[in-house]
Symmetry: C2
């Protein structure tokens, strides 16, 4: 990604200026204190320079808002653009691999227009970003799926669950953040693999959606009653696999209910994201359970499986086309509503994947 920051243009570049595009980008203006606020962000306009050879100009069509962005925002300097992935349309190009009119998926951050060299990059505080790729044939499914079930969240669910939890038919799987983008996919993969799937979520409406629409075997609303007791009644046979999106006290409670030799995939830590990164919350210690039950816990980040991304894509696309999986999106309209969509997603207002449509 070769985003270009605003700068004073000399008169010698005046001719080039005529061909420049204007981009809007959303930057972090203040360090978040707990839940981010609209006033922590700034919408900045920026003139983009003319394309050089090898570059193309991409215009955002769909942008993703994901929980990980809250965590990564700790690592980027104030004034930097929020990190993120988008589906964009190539509107100008000096790179034959990215022709005008094609759609691409790229780590273009929270920007309306981006100049890209089509190369992989290192994003500050957000690991390695692969090169933008041309949207594959989705057999009629919406392009926005490339930001969810057919993109990073789908790949995270697929590899984070199958590679770390190693679920066996008949085993019990619990997913936290179950109605979110990744969690709702994990539960459905668990069912396809012959497991029982239970979701932990923050409302009965979401829970019913998991059971009635996605085929989960049951749910626990962590905001209602005592989760420890609820799990004891809901899952007396104990938990073999725990796919964790939230961490915190919810996870200590689930881990208490695990069976010997259970596996825990830590794919998110949403409950901590609004805390001071240098002062994470205190929760019931888990190591006693880890020891007595001989559990394995592993932290998972999707980029390690970038080389195998097409495996997850092909398999999930097939399941979707066969009707074995369902997928929901919560779509917010308008680039300038990115911040609101992000805050609502962090507050759990979304069902399935949170997306912004420009």
């Amino acid at each position: 990604m070769a985003a270009v920051r605003g700068r004073v243009l000399s008169t010698t570049t005046k001719r080039a200026f005529d061909k420049m595009a204007t981009a809007r980008k959303i930057t972090v203006d203040r360090r978040f204190d707990g839940m981010p606020k609209e006033s922590d962000f700034k919408v900045v306009e920026e003139q983009l320079p003319p394309l050089k050879d090898g570059e193309f100009l991409a215009e955002a069509v769909y942008l993703s808002v994901d929980p990980y962005m809250r965590a990564y925002a700790h690592n980027i300097p104030l004034g930097a653009t929020m990190v993120g992935t988008q589906v964009a349309r190539v509107v100008d190009s000096k790179n034959g691999k990215y022709p005008v009119g094609q759609h691409v998926v790229g780590k273009f951050d929270w920007r309306s227009h981006t100049i890209s060299g089509g190369l992989p990059s290192i994003v500050q505080g957000a690991g390695n970003a692969p090169a933008p790729y041309l949207a594959p044939d989705l057999k009629g499914l919406p392009l926005s799926y490339l930001l969810g079930i057919l993109g990073m969240p789908g790949s995270t669910a697929y590899f984070g669950f199958l590679e770390i939890c190693k679920p066996q038919p008949g085993e019990v799987v619990v997913v936290s953040g179950a109605a979110g983008a990744v969690g709702s996919i994990v539960g459905q993969i668990a069912k396809i693999k012959g497991c029982k799937a239970f979701g932990i979520t923050g409302s009965d409406d979401k829970g019913r959606y998991l059971v009635e629409q996605l085929g989960f075997d049951g749910f626990a609303n962590y905001k209602k009653g005592d989760l420890d007791k609820t799990l004891g009644q809901l899952i007396p046979e104990g938990v073999d696999c725990y796919f964790d999106n939230v961490a915190g006290e919810i996870s200590s409670t689930v881990i208490k209910h695990m069976n010997d030799f259970g596996r825990i995939s830590v794919c998110g830590s949403i409950s901590s994201y609004n805390h001071d990164v240098n002062n994470p919350p205190k929760v019931t210690v888990v190591q006693g359970y880890m020891l007595m039950k001989q559990l394995v816990m592993e932290g998972f980040q999707n980029y390690l499986y970038q080389d195998r991304a097409s495996e997850a894509f092909q398999q999930i696309l097939q399941w979707l086309l066969e009707g074995k999986m369902k997928y929901s999106e919560t779509v917010t309209e308008g680039f300038d509503n990115m911040v609101r969509a992000f805050i609502e997603m962090l507050g759990g207002k979304n069902l399935g994947k949170a997306i912004v449509k420009v």
Copy 2:
């Protein structure tokens, strides 16, 4: 183990009674509230019946006191004998495999005399107990080592470290409870494997022992100053392997200092043992670190490696004979001082393995 409880003897068993031995055993009389107290235990005398065919009578010579006993005491009924392993001498036998005069290692609990059938058993609340085995040739090393570096603690250190932490030459290893029976062995294995070894311990004396006697590269006294800062200064390169005997806040702090793809072997949870088992303490959540650094944490119990115990024994015996490892014991004299030795061990008064010599 076929321990026989006290009973009223009928006149028909009078002749047999003449040949009976008297055993002393130590039972749990009250549930521990925090640190165990002498008054929580009871010394009980018991007449043992005559041997049946296939049985032998063993007289305790060395008994082990270990941290795990504190945890397992939650699971045994009041009035039951404390679990544990001992080196005993066969003093009577109707089993050709266990001749009189031989020494055996057996899960004979806190008893002065035990009748054993020489079979494996299930110990209530303490997993599977293998059959007693005859003491192997220690090439002149003390028999008590069979309860420590050449027994369960040695095997725990060997497999719990090598199999779970998978240390590579040049990596940094941190051990908590470093001056204890298991920890002091782990640090020495780390050095043999070409790692840097740092110990966390509760006194400067113990720390100096680790560095000056056992070859550790450094130590942190968790009772002195801010462990987070101490670790940052002591190990600026970060931690690759963490062998955890203690859990609790100490472990959250170490995990904060781990490098990407670090491995954590949870072999003990001493900091929780004195807590109500249904109400473990609260500590800084670790899942955020697990996720960001893609760590693996695994709970280890030695019994899973019983089949490979001779591998650890042979290797550690060789290291000891070659002078590559050192070993310390804190020996308490007298069976009736078991409880005191146990409480002192839990309070960290021992250096190396805590042993009771009858």
